[in-house]
């Protein structure tokens, strides 16, 4: 049976992993390659590395970080942040990524999705959507790290991304990000049910029961975990055992 994936997410800036609350207040959490390998060994099903600064000056640092991490990973490895062109995506694939995650650039120029998918395959293209509640169970997609409202409905944008060749959607609830109060299951479910490609839920995980909820009620295919992994307050083994006990199929033992 296809299992629900737990994806370890590393937010990286200047070659270090950091974690913030609602996109602010960053704390240092360690070396990306070390953490990626440790999460893989502990049972993470995939690794996502997000370059949250994504400035031109830091591009070389990022590619070196990707190379170092990729050398030590034998599970799927996604890189996102600051990918604005086919050339940016190619550089990240060359450095060893299996998939890229694109967000603002896809909103700005949706043909970029097709362009990367045609060259590297749809399985290699994740469209990331940062969504914020607009009331009445509607959600708006935001660009530029959650700073710029786009006026686009998150569900409609997910459908468009799918039709343009995206292989997966990485859906972050801006309202829940870093709060630890649980995933936004209403948002996740509405997007997951609107598309025919897998949806990765992100933002708000604080405990194992939140993952149970987002798989069961949110219809997520995968869920992103960041801070709860770095600081060890929910070990991956424990999380997967909780999911398994709740009747959710997971890869365990790995």
């Amino acid at each position: 049976m296809l299992t629900k994936r737990i994806i370890a997410c590393l937010d990286v800036t200047g070659g270090r992993v950091v974690k913030g609350v609602q996109f602010l207040n960053l704390r240092d959490a360690g070396d990306p390659a070390d953490l990626a390998e440790a999460h893989s060994a502990a049972g993470a099903d995939e690794i996502v590395l997000l370059d949250i600064s994504a400035t031109a000056e830091q591009r070389a640092t990022l590619l070196e970080t990707v190379r170092r991490a990729a050398r030590r990973l034998f599970i799927p490895f996604t890189v996102g942040g600051g990918i604005r062109s086919l050339a940016d995506a190619s550089a990240v694939f060359d450095a060893g990524a299996d998939k890229v995650s694109i967000n603002s650039a896809a909103l700005c120029d949706p043909t970029l999705i097709t362009c990367i998918a045609e060259r590297f395959g749809s399985q290699a293209v994740i469209v990331a959507i940062d969504a914020k509640s607009a009331g009445n169970q509607h959600y708006q997609a935001f660009a530029r790290g959650g700073r710029t409202p786009t006026g686009r409905d998150a569900c409609l944008w997910a459908q468009e991304a799918e039709s343009r060749g995206a292989g997966e959607i990485l859906l972050t609830s801006m309202d829940r990000d870093g709060t630890g109060v649980g995933f936004d299951c209403v948002l996740t479910r509405s997007v997951s049910d609107a598309v025919r490609i897998p949806v990765i839920a992100s933002g708000g995980a604080g405990g194992a029961e939140h993952f149970v909820n987002v798989f069961r009620d949110g219809h997520a295919d995968a869920a992103l975990a960041a801070s709860i992994l770095h600081y060890g307050n929910t070990a991956l083994a424990e999380l997967k055992q909780t999911l398994s006990t709740a009747g959710i199929s997971v890869r365990w033992p790995c």
């Binding site: 049976m1 296809l2 299992t3 629900k4 994936r5 893989s40 099903d45 990729a70 050398r71 034998f74 599970i75 799927p76 694939f93 060359d94 060893g96 299996d98 590297f120 395959g121 749809s122 399985q123 290699a124 292989g167 997966e168 025919r196 490609i197 897998p198 295919d221 995968a222 890869r251 790995c254």
Partner: protein, 199 residues
Amino acid sequence: MTIAIVDYGAGNLTSVKKALDSLGSRAIITSDAEQISGADKLIVPGVGHFAATAALQRNGMLAAIQAAIRHETPLLGICLGMQWLCAASTEAPDLAGLNIFAADCTHFPSQVKAPHVGWNDLEVIRESGLLTGLPQRSFVYFTHSYRVPLIEHTVASCEYGGVFSAVVEQGRIFGVQFHPEKSGTVGKKILENFCELPC
């Protein structure tokens, strides 16, 4: 021993090489017919559209692979590489596969999301040198929208929108629908088994 990873422009070959490197195997990435002919083992990887396999007809790669098969060189097709070992795919109906395995690849039924992405378990149907040492129900990583049906050469199956072939084997030719290079320790064991097959 040299393993040639056949480069026909479909997908991330460095991850396959990286996994083989970590096992201490000598692997080269090549689209050169002579290097393919001279290799002790062949890996045909690949992700993406079946139409991409048309590139194998360039530079004498196809003839070199066919000759290697006649000389009983062990060959492993991964994902799209496995599908290319079949007769055809509805993804690119005008294009023929190598027809080692007499089966047509078809899209997943509409009741399930496609691509089939993630970790799924293998049901080993019969013994295979490729799967030596693996427990039943081992998890491997898949990402594909088309699949090979169950055939007489299926050695392991997988369930998603129905049962399909996850591993096929005929003589010294193997195909795996999943990505062993992305399947952690289980995947590395499968690649190690392939490396250890007698040449």
